[in-house]
């Protein structure tokens, strides 16, 4: 260690020590001259030898290498730009993807001390919930000694003023904002002392976006009174735009949770079930304690509470925690998507690097003379490799910087395009930079090492390496092309084909009956049915528990005959099939009084009972009896071609959660207003949500199109990279064999024969690469299928399409430079060298 310090000392003061050494040696010469000696060596060389002892020679030669490499790259700007562009693409895509993952999962939210925040869940043998009843959390907040603060967030929807459409409202414990270090942009935030005191006035804090969009950024908004669900509420402040809350986006309006019953009369703060308020719970663990200790304390508190509320607190209830200070946590169902992103990113990087490796190898030919001169004047093989690696390093560094920039721009674009909250900062942090550097190093190893080795050994005439490069390129681009082809085909099929139900002329009405009893709901629906019956233009009315194209579904994943099947269960009324235009194929539809009778879709019937008549069959292990078969209707996810459906008649207890579907004779838009007013006329306290199925459908299709677009862009990039690589390598092969071609032409070879000579060597690697690529794509699509529906295992069109597209592009890419072989002048070629 001391030794290293001394060496560093010598490095840092090298100028002074060099002068001292020079002085010493001059003195030596003076003395020697006095004694009559004449023959001296080269003073500079001797001094350099002495200086070598300090151990910093490599720095000098490294700087020399860098200077030389920079000169080389400046000397061929076309190559440098191409190379840096490829690397920027390969690294940039990965950096952007990782940056997004980092923002969502790895980077703590911009709140105060996110490390000590944990989110709790309820668990007991056989039970699991994210949500708590408010009184349970309140009990924990009151009695916990291990948590310095308990944060509560409940959600709901309230209307503003006289508007029809309710907005998302967060119901918070009053300590929520202060505890997270939130600051108001105007006025104040919620405060426990004021807003949770007995008889506190109803107040609301506006989100920044809401303040801008709905209140015209009114600077004097604080103190004004607005109507929330027709209840007067005082606005006390506006949240700053950079406050994230504990999710991706803070709600439009924040209200103290103790005020929830004021806005929604059906809710009761002290109730556990039915009328109770569902909330999520976070805690801040006291410093020095671990979440584990807090969990234990809460479990014992839960046991204590269970003595008073044995029905509401589960037996052996535990409260497992997970880190709470992050935008999202990775769950098992996200793995396939992450694997897909990782695989695609890696493939693009590999494709870029392999292509670049080919280009570098091809460049070796142009530099053949340079390298023979350098080794002739005494550069060892190691020195040559070092020189080439330095050039690669410099390229990688430039590519890395460009890639970081590209990644930043990409991520920024994504945030703007996807309308993500403003506090997400796309600027790369340490983790992203580290990742980018890692990718850069990986890319240097991929593209730099083998060409350097070959050039330095002057063995670059061997074709094996080149063939491996071509094969690798073909394989990676092939995988990307096929996968993107699969995506595009799947989405095309899903969106072009009819979803199997009527969506153009249907209005979905979510009546907002949460908290109502089955009886109240029945009364509401009866009234609604009779009043809507009088509205002209309405053809049919029905209800379903999982509305088509909505965000609710209940899926049972099973395997039938080795094939994954997702059964979408839906509780509907008897008129559902008529309203939605789903044709009856066999048997009968659902009828009043059905209990165990179910109706299945054609594809489910075919999967379960191939070649048999499904009517009267018992459905798997349940006691359900199939009474009818209807056409396929992918109600929830049009892109999921594995989905099959099963329908049950709705029972009374489910009524409060039903969604009403209204089929109109003409365009649905015209009836939205009258449907809304009818619904309001029945119960003024309910706030229905109305949606046109057509716009939901268009939204779903648009999302699918964007995904397909992104994957196709990746595929196109891969194809472009492969073509560039093939152009480079074939051009190299041509320039290498100029002399041979000249001889062949002089002896009378025809153009086709000349081309064959040049291109023959690439036949095998391309075929092998294609085979590997097809296999890889098949394997990858297997993985993808587990998470991304609608990809078919084997879609001949996608495979052949990709292979043909690749073949044509690769053929053109090979022919362009190969044509140069035909232009070789035999006489010039023979005289060369």
């Amino acid at each position: 260690m001391k030794n290293l310090n001394r060496r560093l000392h010598y490095l840092l003061n090298r100028r002074r020590f060099d002068e001292e050494l020079t002085n010493d040696m001059e003195f030596h010469r003076e003395m020697a001259t006095r004694e009559g000696r004449q023959n001296f060596g080269n003073a500079l060389r001797l001094r350099e030898q002495a200086r070598d002892e300090w151990g910093w020679v490599w720095i000098d030669s490294f700087l020399q290498d860098i200077r030389y490499a920079a000169r080389m790259l400046r000397g061929s700007p076309g190559f440098t730009l191409t190379a840096v562009g490829m690397l920027a693409l390969g690294i940039g895509i990965n950096v952007a993807a990782f940056g997004f993952f980092n923002l969502m999962v790895l980077r703590p939210l911009p709140v105060r001390d996110p490390a000590t925040l944990v989110q709790f869940q309820r668990e007991s043998p056989g039970n699991f919930a994210d949500n708590f009843a408010y009184p349970e959390v309140a009990f924990f907040a009151e009695h916990s000694k291990t948590l310095s603060a308990v944060l509560v967030e409940g959600s709901g929807r309230l209307t503003i003023g006289q508007e029809e459409k309710p907005v998302g409202v967060g119901f918070f414990s009053a300590n929520f904002f202060n505890e997270l270090g939130g600051v108001p942009m105007l006025g104040r935030l919620l405060s426990p002392a004021v807003d949770e005191a007995a008889g506190a006035a109803p107040v609301a804090v506006l989100g920044y976006g809401t303040w801008r969009s709905r209140f015209g950024a009114d600077p004097f908004i604080v103190g004004k009174t607005i109507l929330l669900n027709q209840k007067p509420t005082t606005i006390v402040g506006v949240l700053a735009s950079n406050f994230s809350g504990l999710g991706l986006e803070p709600p439009a309006i924040s209200v103290p949770i103790v005020q929830k019953p004021y806005f929604e009369a059906s809710q009761d703060l002290r109730a556990f079930s039915e009328k109770g308020i569902n909330v999520r719970m976070w805690g801040r663990v006291r410093s020095g304690l671990t979440p584990r200790i807090a969990e234990q304390e809460l479990a014992s508190l839960a046991a204590q509470l269970r003595l008073e509320h044995p029905k509401d607190i589960w037996e052996k209830e535990t409260l497992p925690s997970r880190p709470g200070g992050y935008a999202t946590t990775v769950r098992a169902e996200m793995y396939p998507v992450l694997a897909l992103a990782g695989a695609l990113g890696t493939l693009i990087l590999v494709a870029a690097c392999v292509t670049l490796g080919g280009l570098l190898l091809a460049r070796g030919v142009a530099r053949e003379r340079e390298f023979s001169i350098r080794s002739a004047v005494g550069a060892g093989r190691g020195r040559l490799i070092r020189q080439l690696l330095t050039e690669s390093l410099l390229l990688a560094l430039l590519g890395l910087l460009a890639g970081l920039m590209a990644g930043y721009v990409g991520l920024r674009g994504l945030i703007v395009w996807a309308d993500l909250p403003a506090w997400l900062n796309p600027m790369p942090d340490g983790r992203v930079i580290l990742f980018a550097v890692g990718t850069g190093i990986a890319s240097v190893i991929l593209f730099g090492l083998t060409p350097a080795w070959h050039v330095a050994r002057q063995r670059y005439r061997t074709t094996t390496m080149r063939q491996i490069l071509i094969g690798g390129q073909v394989a990676t681009s092939c995988v990307l092309l096929i996968v993107s082809g699969l995506f595009v085909r799947a989405l095309h099929q899903a969106t072009a084909a009819s979803p199997g139900f009527e969506y153009e002329r249907v209005i979905a009405l979510e009546p907002g009956l949460e908290g109502a009893s089955a009886k109240e709901a029945r009364a509401f629906f009866d009234a609604l049915w009779s009043r809507l019956g009088n509205v002209p233009g309405i053809v049919s009315i029905s209800m379903a528990s999982n509305p088509p194209l909505g965000n609710r579904w209940s899926v049972v994943k099973t395997r039938v005959g080795g094939k994954a099947v997702n059964i979408h269960f839906n509780n509907v009324d008897a008129d559902f099939f008529e309203t939605m235009g789903i044709p009856l194929r066999k048997g009968r539809g659902l009828a009043r009084g059905d209990k165990r009778e179910i109706v299945v879709s054609e594809s489910l019937a075919r999967a379960e009972w191939p070649g048999e008549n499904p009517i009267g069959k018992q459905f798997s292990d349940s006691k359900d009896i199939v009474v009818g078969v209807v056409g396929n209707a992918r109600l929830v996810s049009p892109e999921d071609s594995d989905a099959v459906e099963a329908y049950r008649l709705v029972q009374e207890d489910l009524l409060p959660s039903m969604v009403v579907l209204i089929r109109t004779a003409g365009p649905a838009e015209g009836l939205v207003a009258s449907v809304a007013s009818v619904s309001k006329s029945i119960d003024r306290l309910r706030f229905p949500e109305i949606q046109l199925l057509r716009s939901s459908f268009n939204q779903k299709v648009a999302q699918a199109r964007y995904a397909a677009l992104i994957v196709s862009v990746l595929g196109a990039v891969a194809l472009l990279l492969a073509c560039l690589g093939i152009v480079g390598v074939v051009a190299y092969a041509v320039s290498q064999r100029t002399k041979e071609i000249g001889i062949r032409m002089a002896l009378g070879a025809r153009p086709a024969q000349v081309l064959w000579v040049v291109l023959r060597q690439f036949g095998n690697p391309i075929v092998i690469g294609l085979l590997v690529g097809v296999g890889g794509a098949a394997a990858l699509s297997q993985i993808l299928r587990q998470g991304l529906y609608g990809l078919s295992n084997f879609d001949p069109a996608a495979y052949t399409g990709a292979v043909v597209a690749f073949g044509v592009a690769a053929g053109l890419a090979a022919l362009l430079p190969a044509r140069r072989a035909l232009l070789v002048d035999p006489m010039l070629a023979l005289r060369y060298e």
Partner: protein
């Protein structure tokens, strides 16, 4: 531990010394110098007091009865090694010709190094001697 292996780091210093011998072959007796011996000799010479570079070379030359001649090409790398290893320090002084020059002084670490190198040398030397005498 044999002599050669203990001084791998010094091996290239002998290149300088052997160069000296080849260039002065005509006037110098051809004497094999053990590997790493120069550092040992410098350390030993410095034990008697501080010296500047030229004086070190002179001292070795004289004490070896003018058999060993140390050229700049070997001496200064060896001295840099001593400095970097911390076996010697350099301080400014004035030469007998009234010129500013650096004098080299042995450090305690250098003294230790000298002792261990001497011990090694003696062992190998003794071993060689006994082989020569008895074989």
């Amino acid at each position: 531990m044999s002599w050669e292996f203990s001084n791998i780091a010094n091996r290239h210093l002998t290149r300088g010394i052997s160069e000296v011998y080849t260039t002065h072959n005509a006037i110098m007796p051809n004497v094999e110098m053990p590997i790493g011996a120069l550092v040992l000799l410098i350390l030993r010479v410095l034990r008697s007091g501080t010296l500047h570079g030229y004086a070190i070379a002179q001292r070795i030359h004289c004490l070896s009865s003018e058999v060993l001649k140390v050229e700049e090409g070997a001496l200064y790398p060896a001295l840099q090694k001593l400095l970097v290893q911390g076996w010697a320090t350099a301080e400014w002084g004035v030469s007998e010709t009234n010129r500013k020059v650096r004098f080299y002084r042995l450090t305690p670490a250098g003294r230790k190094q000298l002792e261990s190198q001497l011990a090694d040398y003696e062992r190998v030397h003794g071993a060689i001697q006994s082989v020569l005498r008895t074989a």
